[in-house]
Assembly symmetry: C2
Homo-oligomer: 355 residues x 2
DNA sequence: CGCAGTCATGACAGCGCAGTCATACAGGCG
DNA sequence: CGCCTGTATGACTGCGCTGTCATGACTGCG
């Protein structure tokens, strides 16, 4: 008794049609069906059409498990993401999905729970078990040196060589130059120095921004005020702002490592009776959607998530499909500073409270 | 010549060890290795230990493609998401991932590009092709009646029965009751009526919120002012706020369908010389992270994304693993109104500008 | 006309697992 | 003691594809 194909039978559970069923209907061999569906050469137009028609009629869908087993390739890319709804990581994930799909790859996603030790390594391991041709580690947190000594290419977005591996490709989110641009914007407005509310230093992204800030100040020979560290949340920015307003009376410019903290900071400053930007200028980072509409509209730095994801994935796909090709370096994404109303020149004649 | 296992050989490409390799090393049959890795009954403690040790030594990882082919199950759930970094959808996706992993399922993600016709159906199709045991359609946009007539269970989060299918499970994000609570909060403060800035009506979530607003006003016998429709963005909230401030001088309370629009709205009101909450009270929806730190801190409604995701996935997994069980209804998630400083009783004696 | 080269197709094996069935032995019971 | 039930294991097969090789048919050219 042979199997009864999909839509044909009246009763019983319908059985998904296989390539042989299509082949039979089209009057060709199963292998030819495979050829058509893989877009291989050497299939006559006539046969191709017949196969596609037969497939359509039966509602045929290729079984990707069988394909993966036979070919050794899954056409799937695994992503290790952070499991946070923060605008940056979420946007990057979306960009990765789009780029992967455009490249003909499906996506598997595993989130690392923050604070989970060995999270990245474990996540990569589980992806390999699920079967992926390549892995993207998106904006990870520093967990000490992680060895990504795995057999597939790995793209690390937004983290340096801490992630070592034989087939690692690192593409930058390039936050350092962006942070530098933000800081320089404030210096160019005439501020003597710029304070910094940093992100949590376990995040590479936070360190990059800190480094960019330092670099800008160094380059201009300015002193580096003590850094306050937040946790990306508006709440932490608020707390940092309170501390800043209380401790130092000479703060005229602050660069916050993300927009949420900048917004919290502005609120704290406002509560302390300081006006933004009249008394204190504030720059954020990310250009989250609300930034243009908070009070005052926030000057911030826009990250080209889409370009980063696309560029990184291009490299990854190349590494997957042409393992022997040179590991071409990533192109640096463009810097974009969005100047709004939260920054202004310092009030030169403003009397110092403490003098 | 037989294959040389993984870490053993010095030269050449290492070949991933298979179950037979583990079996050989442990002195058992391949089938027994399979039993151990699937946690089946009837394996002696001694054998189990030996197999695990052998697997460890070889660095064995099961091949999930082979497993899927042989068993017909992929242990993977596919998610159709919207491809937006909006807080709601992103949070829901994270909740889904966690819940799926806890249930022992991996995740495949496909984003629908907004405005892509037939996006959901196409996305589901591509997931089926990739091989999934179940599908989650997360907060979709109305594309007309979509028939999810597929062979696997489908969980639709946050959309009504427009998505029909033989094995569909619908779990609510229950935005209607939340929207109703938000509106009633304003009425209880003493406002005569409440204006509404709606989300794009192609979104079910936006319609639910609109319906909740209407229900609250009807229940209290209040008139329903005309609705302004935004697109979730702060920019659209800003535009709506401008229109509102210009057109009507009797606006004392506004319920915005999400926090971003509420923030844009507040900015527009501020620019028009109206104070929040003194002149106008504003309620948002979502409780995005910055909401507590904008000026003024936003009264809003928190959605229990995690609970919704977890509950929905429980139903989906049940439908996958026990196809014959009753399709238990979803439990309604709890309502949580977060009252901050953007709402207050109306200024009773405030002189009307136009009188 | 005969032979090489290209194009088009099919036969067959095997990817690495899980399902099915057979087998073997232990203990309980009438 | 034979029989049955429960436990523990292995042999064999097949899931639905792709890779490899074989086989024709057709083309161009000396």
């Amino acid at each position: 008794m042979s199997r009864v194909g999909g839509q044909g039978g009246q009763g019983g559970t319908p059985v998904a049609p296989r390539a042989v069923d299509v082949a039979r209907l089209a009057g060709v061999s199963q292998k030819t069906v495979s050829r058509v569906f893989n877009g291989e050469r050497y299939v006559s137009e006539d046969v191709r059409r017949r196969v596609l028609e037969a497939a359509e009629e039966l509602g045929y869908r290729m079984n990707s498990a069988a394909r993966a087993l036979a070919s050794g390739r899954t056409r799937t890319i695994g992503v290790v993401a952070l499991g946070t709804a923060l605008y940056g990581p979420a946007s990057l994930l979306i960009g990765i999905e789009r780029a992967a799909r455009d490249a003909g790859y499906a996506l598997r996603v595993v989130n690392t729970l923050e604070g989970d030790p060995g999270g990245v390594a474990g996540a990569v391991e589980s992806l390999l078990e699920q079967g992926v041709d390549g892995v993207v580690v998106s904006e990870p947190i520093d967990e000490g040196a992680v060895s990504l000594d795995v057999e597939v290419p790995v793209l690390v977005l937004g983290a340096p060589a801490v992630f070592a591996g034989p087939r690692a490709v690192v593409a930058g989110v390039g936050a350092e130059s962006l942070a530098r641009a933000a800081t320089e914007h404030l210096l160019e407005l005439g501020h003597m120095t710029v304070h910094h509310i940093a992100g949590p230093q376990r995040w590479f992204a936070a360190r990059d921004r800190l480094a960019g800030w330092r670099a800008a100040l160094s380059a201009h020979g300015r002193e580096q005020p003590p850094v306050v560290e937040g946790d990306w949340s508006a709440a932490s920015g608020h707390a940092a702002g309170r501390a800043l307003a209380a401790a130092a009376d000479d703060v005229t410019a602050v660069f916050a490592a993300n927009d949420d903290m900048a917004i919290g900071l502005i609120r704290a400053l406002t509560e302390a009776g300081l006006r933004v930007p009249d008394d204190v200028s504030v720059v954020g980072f990310d250009d989250i959607p609300v930034s243009a509409y908070v009070t005052p509209p926030l000057t911030t730095v826009r990250q080209p998530f889409d370009a980063v994801a696309r560029d990184g994935l291009r490299l990854l796909v190349r590494a997957i499909e042409k393992p022997d090709a040179e590991p071409e370096p990533a192109t640096d994404p463009p810097v974009e500073l969005v100047v709004r109303a939260s920054t202004a020149p310092p009030a030169g004649s403003r009397p110092h409270a403490g003098d």
